[in-house]
């Protein structure tokens, strides 16, 4: 059954891409064929995912590929989980798409260039998750990367967009080479390339570490871990918003899937050092991601850096899991793994929601900068409410889904007391404190985002005149928001469904998190920690209703609407509000060494400073990793290329002498 549904899903997405070839000529094809097919593909993926998660693993061979190495598919619980993740977000994007791409239909970009790569992109992600040999995995990975390159480069008239797309393609391929090399190391110790053979390989410790390092580098670059993240904040804002939702919500998770598959499943051994490296890199990504996001004024760049933060949190949980597994505590390793996977699912949902809402805002106001929005809650009430739910979820506030996964991750960290290594017992609470700092900064970030864009007074004419987006766009957001709430209220049910995943990975024990029933999350034991999300929601609702009932005004007390307090100086204008840059100023000052800040203040007026006629403030906040890592590497590459290019002297005699010396060398070898 599972195989049929999966095949159906992949074929549907390929068909959606294929139909898109004609979309340039028949505009209606986009709305009536491409997106519906994509939506059906999403639904089929979800069904296949549930079947795989709740049933037994299935595998089969496809008649494609090389003659001696045909492609094989393996769909186990882990693959099923990620299929559900992919399917849900794809379905939401497909519902969102027709309304959103309406403006592209009369634009100068070719619609085929939007449709075809989207279908191929989704097909690529589906194939990566079900691949059972290294060859098919890499082909699907390439398909995913290349098609998303075309999507990122969709609006290619601006040079900045082309640069961003090029950077994305470059880093995707560097990562791909690392992953390929990692498979190569594994295959060197086994008989073939299929995952069963790779799993059976016995690796010496040094080579296992090399394979791990290569896999971590490759998958980490694709997932966007600091310092390999430079492509993420460039590429995600440039793509159309529904594609950004797919990239940020789904593609990054496919990289997480690849990491889990290689490190937890294929390599077959686990070392504590690996776990510590993953944990520290995750912590750095989380903290730096949220700090960089704090200073952005472009809404999509802000969300892209926030994705870096959440990927950092997922890798922190994976790091905890690896440390516990290597130290001989498989139950706690399972706990960490489940927490990481749950956070991955939650992030796909709320980041997808946030990007789709951002797309709705951008479509209606034609503004991407936070400083040009404001007061949108009155103009876009549905988008505003769903965006608020997304912000509450990503700020990890109870009783939403972000809080449930963060609670599990903190409980995993708390179990670190069982370890014997004293240094680890110090490092783990410190990283938990970094996680707490990150989530608190994330709450501030989303207060800033929501408050500046949706609340207050509109700062531009476009913000004042925004209209409601289409029904499809609103229902897609509503669907994802409802899922966020549902997963927040019933985390135990979700985790119980995920229970089969650890057992298919090298026989890890089943999680005991839901031992007390559907109401409770009890990670370690019922006495030491428990959380009941439904009862918390009930409590909140009860107290709220009681206080409203007891304290709400009587009928004769009307609420009067008056102008806001202006200290008696006259009406407040929209320019007197806090800007996004101003909101983030205390953080900019406190954490100054983190960014490269270029701030200029020019005062025009008289010399002594008594009368100021004008004040000009210019602020540029940029990423330090460019100056410290990427530019030096770029310079070194160019320098070595220049050195190597001396081989091409253009002189015929030099080239003949190359052939001559090679011939002499080969003759000597033969003798």
């Amino acid at each position: 059954m599972t195989i049929q549904w999966i095949a159906c899903a992949v074929l549907l997405s390929l068909l959606s891409g294929g139909v898109g070839l004609g979309a340039s000529y028949y505009r209606a094809l986009l709305r009536w064929a491409c997106f519906p097919l994509l939506g059906l593909s999403g639904l089929a993926t979800v069904i296949a995912g549930f079947l795989a998660l709740l049933g037994d693993p299935v595998s089969t061979q496809l008649p494609l590929g090389l003659p001696w190495l045909s492609w094989s598919i393996y769909v186990d619980a882990l693959a099923g989980f990620f299929l559900i993740l992919i399917g849900v977000v794809v379905f939401a994007v497909a519902v969102f798409g027709p309304g959103y791409t309406r403006e592209f239909q009369h634009g100068r970009h070719s619609l085929a260039a939007l449709c075809v790569p989207t279908g191929l992109f989704v097909a690529g992600m589906q194939l990566v998750v079900i691949a059972n040999d290294a060859f098919m995995f890499m082909i699907a990975w390439e398909l995913m990367s290349l098609s998303s390159y075309f999507l990122v480069a969709y609006q290619h008239e601006q040079a900045a967009n082309r640069r961003a797309a090029f950077l994305y393609l470059l880093m995707a391929h560097i990562g791909g080479i690392a992953i390929l090399l990692s498979y190569g190391v594994l295959a060197a110790f086994s008989d073939g390339f299929s995952f069963e053979l790779l799993r059976a390989a016995e690796l010496p410790t040094l080579w296992a570490s090399i394979a791990f390092a290569l896999a971590f580098f490759g998958f980490g670059m694709k997932a966007g871990l600091v310092p390999l993240h430079a492509w993420l904040p460039e590429a995600h804002p440039v793509a159309p918003s529904h594609i950004s939702a797919l990239m940020s919500g789904v593609m990054l998770k496919v990289a997480v899937y690849g990491f889990i598959r290689v490190v937890f499943d294929l390599i077959g051994q686990m070392q504590v050092d690996w776990g510590v490296i993953v944990l520290l890199t995750g912590s750095a990504s989380a903290l730096l991601g949220v700090l960089y996001a704090m200073q952005q004024t472009d809404i999509k760049r802000l969300l892209a850096y926030s994705s870096i933060e959440n990927i950092g949190v997922i890798f922190m949980a994976l790091g905890f899991a690896m440390i516990f597994l290597a130290a001989g505590y498989p139950k706690l390793g399972t706990l960490g793994l489940i927490a990481a996977l749950y956070h991955a699912l939650n992030h796909a949902l709320f980041k997808g929601l946030l990007f789709l809402s951002a797309g709705a805002i951008i479509q209606q106001t034609h503004q991407q900068s936070l400083e040009h929005m404001g007061g949108l809650l009155k103009r876009l009430p549905y988008t505003g409410t769903f965006f608020l739910i997304g912000c509450l979820s990503i700020a990890t506030l109870p009783p939403f889904n972000g809080f449930a996964s963060e609670w599990l991750i903190l409980q995993t960290a708390l179990q670190g007391v069982v370890l014997e290594n004293g240094l680890l017992r110090i490092v783990i609470p410190v990283t938990a404190a970094v996680l707490a700092l990150t989530t608190a900064l994330a709450a501030m970030l989303f207060v800033r985002l929501y408050g500046i864009s949706f609340l207050g007074q509109p700062r531009t004419r476009q913000a004042r005149q925004a209209h409601l987006p289409s029904f499809g766009m609103r229902s897609a957001q509503g669907m994802l928001a409802a899922l966020c709430i549902l997963l927040g209220i019933l985390p135990a049910v979700a985790i119980k469904i995920m229970g089969a995943i650890p057992q298919t990975l090298r026989g890890l024990p089943a999680p005991e998190i839901t031992g007390q029933g559907w109401l409770w999350l009890t990670p370690a034991s019922a006495a030491s920690a428990s959380y009941s999300a439904p009862l918390v929601l009930l409590g909140l609702a009860l107290v709220w209703w009681l206080s409203y009932f007891l304290l709400h005004g009587r009928k004769h007390q009307q609420v009067q609407r008056v102008p806001a307090w202006d200290c008696g100086f006259g009406p407040l204008s929209a320019r007197m509000q806090y800007t996004a840059t101003a909101f983030a100023m205390p953080i900019r000052r406190i954490f100054k060494p983190v960014w490269l800040i270029d701030e200029k203040i020019e005062r025009s007026g008289d010399e002594q400073g008594f009368h100021t006629s004008g004040l000009r403030h210019q602020l540029q906040v940029s990423d330090r990793s460019w100056k410290w890592l990427y530019l030096p590497i770029g310079r070194w590459v160019l320098r070595s290329a220049r050195l190597v290019s001396r081989l091409q002297s253009g002189n015929v005699r030099t080239y003949l002498s190359y052939s001559f010396f090679t011939l002499l060398f080969l003759l000597w070898l033969i003798s």
């Binding site: 809080f403 709450a443 207060v447 206080s547 007390q557 806090y578 205390p586």
Partner: protein, 321 residues
Amino acid sequence: MADLLNLQGWLLVLLQTVLFVLMAPLLTGWLRLLKAWLQNRSAPSLSQPYRNLLKLMKKEVLVAQTTTPLFRIAPYVVFATTVLTAAIIPLLTVHLPTAAIADVIVLVGFLALGRFFLALASMDAGTAFGGMGSSREMTIASLAEPAMLMAIFTITMTAQSTNISQAIDFLLGQGLVLRPSFMFALLALMLVAVAETGRVPVDNPTTHLELTMVHEAMILEYSGRHLALMEWAAQLKLMVYGVLISNIFFPWGLALDNTPHNLLLSFISLIGKLMVLSVVLALAETVLAKMRLFRVPNYLNLAFLFALLGMLSHVILEAGA
């Protein structure tokens, strides 16, 4: 989870929550009394905060034109989350059914939820003061949270549970133990409590100058019953932190079984503990001056340092080689 159906437990939760909510203004009144005595002024009576709240309830509500329905919902959310934290922390008796529903990390989450809505509501009016208040409050909160979590970690590493009832039960069973980690965690939590409840030296709750406000700037636009709810929630938050600190670090006096005799003793010891804590707070507020905003990170770094030292003391000194 069996004690979830215990009716007596739930009655105690209800009693405790009502006590918390009703006693919070009294604690604020007592603090004002102490500060007045220290500053050689005559003090308002102890029932003045109650009279203020009642007066505000009866007044009419004026809402700014630029605001959205979020502005009117926020006071109820803030009040509800603070009342829920009051329902989790043992006040008179150790074993509460609500402690199994929400542990200490969820408590921090509740406070964060209230703060989120408060900050959003302050930005809703579209004034400069609202943005300023919410920017400052979120900055202070984001720096205070790692210190608080590290202190909580230190305590849970010893008590081996994040369930507050179980933790206090464990600590009561151990008797008087001089733990350096607890000493440091107490210092850290006291510093964090002052920052989170907006007292001097982080924020002055009685200031009239808008540019020096943090919490007051966020509730500047509120009036009538909404303002009453916000102020009550702030007073409740102060009491919540006070009870948390006194009952975790000095749990002697809490009733382990629910006989009326023990409950009465527990109430008396609670009053005593809160009085001592309020004397300490009143002294600190009188002797120290309010810091400027960019010295608050140094203050919170000190809190984090204490919490870090507490964790290090626990791992190095207390947990054996």
